[in-house]
Subunit: 202 residues, 2 copies
DNA sequence: CCTCTCATGTGTGCACCGCTTACATTCTCT
DNA sequence: AGAGAATGTAAGCGGTGCACACATGAGAGG
């Protein structure tokens, strides 16, 4: 039957997200255009606008998806890391994710995120909470704020600088070793960290 | 004289860079278009292509300029930091630069940098060298590699997460305190860092 | 001084983009 | 079954990157 209607797509929103992800992985964020997404979904150029009022909204939705996947990816390594090596393993997974999905990772962090997209802020809040929990578990007594920000920043910075080719990424093992080393070192300094946080109040 | 020739601009390349910087600061990287640059320089849309074969080349040139300015900015705080507080002060300046020039900082780091643009790689090499020197000075005996990468990553991550609004950036002092705290803590851990680097060879 | 040459700027055009508006189709709900 | 909302299409506007042929004028060689 040629006329199996097909006027309505079924789940165009999901199809758009899938197409966007594919375009992102294939040709980078420049290739992620509304029209290209529409083409790939087999739909008219204006159709995606029914589900994403503007390009920015599509990108934000993709980024939110990325945040959730990253969180799952980390949790899969260890659901509740506490010991330094467990935490270091999670850090390695973070950098690994960035290197495995460079365009997605950039979409998540590289462009200014709009504070209005609630899906996106929810997803980022979730990952921030995950990191904060790690700090809480690893250092029950300490003020977690000074810890989790430092840990996240270190790992995030490692991910980005690796992504930008500033460090050697030739072999996965070299990357993993470097990340592990840096994170473990930071954790040996943790007592000094929370102490410093006490010293200069707020 | 209306006809002071003016057919040739004089120094269009510099004018384009200036215009690009202005557009970047005013309206973000999306506003940085070849045509907008041409308009602002008072020149035809195709003229900038005589100096930058493609948009990417213009962006790379702006980024290289940014790298050089950042390096100067850091060196101005302290030309040869060695003590922890001096280094922490430089770290604060790094984050400050990112927050003061968000679009420029993003242009420098957020998009995949092409390894072919030699101006850009030279500028990044210079800043990497500056950071490496810091590590060397601060820890003369130690293997500097494990140090400078960690320090840079921590600071870079702090800059980016602040830029993305993941941390509190309401007052400059709060930002500075957080950066100082994190960096100082990492430096107290430096012995452990180089020791770990020795333990797991390469 | 005059001409030749070439770097540099102009004009035009193509394909693509984001986004809007008016219209067509289908789903859903009563 | 009919109304109205949801979701698709068609057409069009202004902007963009980039390629091409052409115009201009500054500097080198006679």
């Amino acid at each position: 039957m040629p006329q199996t209607t097909a006027y309505h797509h079924g789940d165009l929103r999901a199809a758009c997200l899938r197409a966007a992800r594919e375009l992102l992985e294939e040709d980078g964020s420049a290739a992620l255009s509304m029209r290209a997404v529409a083409r790939r979904a087999g739909v008219s150029p204006a159709a995606p606008y029914r589900h994403f009022p503007e390009r920015e909204a599509l990108v934000s939705a993709v980024a939110a998806e990325g945040y959730r996947e990253l969180t799952e990816h980390l949790a899969a390594v260890h659901p509740a890391p506490a010991a330094p090596d467990e935490i270091a393993a999670v850090a390695v997974a973070y950098v690994r994710f960035a290197l495995d999905h460079p365009a997605l990772f950039r979409a998540m962090f590289a462009e200014p995120c709009d504070p209005d997209n609630e899906e996106r802020v929810a997803a980022t809040a979730a990952i921030a909470e995950y990191v904060r929990d790690i700090a809480r578990r690893a250092f029950p007594g300490a003020d977690p704020d000074a810890l989790w920000t430092s840990v996240w920043a270190l790992v995030h910075g490692l991910a980005f600088l690796h992504l930008d080719g500033k460090f050697d990424t030739s072999t996965p093992d070299a990357v993993a070793d470097q990340v592990r080393t840096a994170v473990l070192a930071l954790f040996t300094a943790a007592p000094a960290l929370s102490q410093a946080a006490d010293t200069q109040p707020r």
